[in-house]
Symmetry: C2
Subunit: 277 residues, 2 copies
Amino acid sequence: MKFVLTGATGFVGAHLHKYLQAQGHLVATIGRGFSQSEMIKTLQETKPDVVIHLASCFIAEHKSSDVDNLIQSNILFGSQLLEAMKITDCRTLINTGSTWQQYKGIRNNPACLYAATKNAFEEILKYYVSAENFNHITLKLVDSYGPEDKRGKLVSKLIESLVTGQCFELSPGEQKIDLVHINDIVKAYEVASSTLVQTSHKSLNTTFTLSTGQAISIRDIVRIIENISNQKLNVTFGAREYRKREMMDSEVLDPILPNWSALITLQAGLKGLIYGH
Amino acid sequence: MKFVLTGATGFVGAHLHKYLQAQGHLVATIGRGFSQSEMIKTLQETKPDVVIHLASCFIAEHKSSDVDNLIQSNILFGSQLLEAMKITDCRTLINTGSTWQQYKGIRNNPACLYAATKNAFEEILKYYVSAENFNHITLKLVDSYGPEDKRGKLVSKLIESLVTGQCFELSPGEQKIDLVHINDIVKAYEVASSTLVQTSHKSLNTTFTLSTGQAISIRDIVRIIENISNQKLNVTFGAREYRKREMMDSEVLDPILPNWSALITLQAGLKGLIYGH
């Protein structure tokens, strides 16, 4: 298949780029700095079967100065992409959502402004679906982890602390997160792409969650890492407060992507990270 | 009451500005060029009871070069406004919606990209309502008309054609529009403001439509103008096609604003425009 990918420099994007190429697919990328005409040029030259939109600016707790960047990155960039797709008649898209868009398990109840911009973009997308016959799947991501993660997220920080012995200050840690290994996530994008291409004439427009079906508390994750490594982690629970609107649980509102499941257990995934294989 | 108003140079905004001042209210304005810090300054100096957000960029059929302007005007500007309101602890807002957001009477089914940006902004607003305890009413406008209308809309063009005798080319004209006189509309904003201020502790967050309850076809509007003026209008029906997603009817999905109704009949309103009183 032929793909155009946005967000190829991010954690998921970089892994996906590598994976799709390894599977023999052709992948072109559209970067944040692209003008609409540069987007059009890339789409015209690649003629992708599917456009995968991963680019986003994630900020859990925004400052007032972040508003501009959040809107530009998460709404304007994607809208320019949709318009460029319309012009070049590439109407098949995989969009990326987040369970942060459904705080407390309520649909369209964003946990933070980042999540609100994701909801907002989906309203723009609805126009292109309804007026311009776009086909799309939105893949709602829960929590991801894996090698070469430079996002400063929990798992990589815990494993870093395991190596350095440096103290890592945590919230009380009762929040449950649903960790999906990056190797499972990239496969989901390939499965969703095949589904879209095969059913495009039936106009598939829906959202699927990439969930393991099992959310685990941060306290339990720490325990699992300690068990695997046979080492005590230098963490202090309760050293910092929960975020204002902390995601305390990971509820699955949209069905799990058909023909896909998370195959890498947390045990295996963490073991791989700790022992570097 | 004290108001901060956006979109004060537009048709509804200019009339509302004049009306609120005539009613003895204090009105400050925030213009499109305002930075976030200028917004904050205006809000801090005015300490408004209610912020009325009217500013918007309306484009019925967008070109690709319009995407940037639509997102900046209809999403970014409003988001900066909400953030400035949060910072200054002004949490009472009247937002302005449009029945174009509900093409064919289906909620969140935008007739055009403009309407999609309105839906998108409401997703941003939901965050401030849910996370920052904003109170708001969204007033969904149908079609407006009245004196000093420079928008080039149907009614003013018909009356212009009545004076000049110049030919006016129309679509087949079977689409029904719900025309509300500007003097009724400005009153609705005052009623909604009182409602919000009185019930702010109960956290009112809802949408009301400003409808006459009666949609009339363009063909009938032409007939009414001809009857009032006792003059034949130089119009050609069918000279141009319907828009791609023409709003053929004006369905009311959200309740009409309580304690308000459109008092000026179309007969009276048009008579006023034709005879200039």
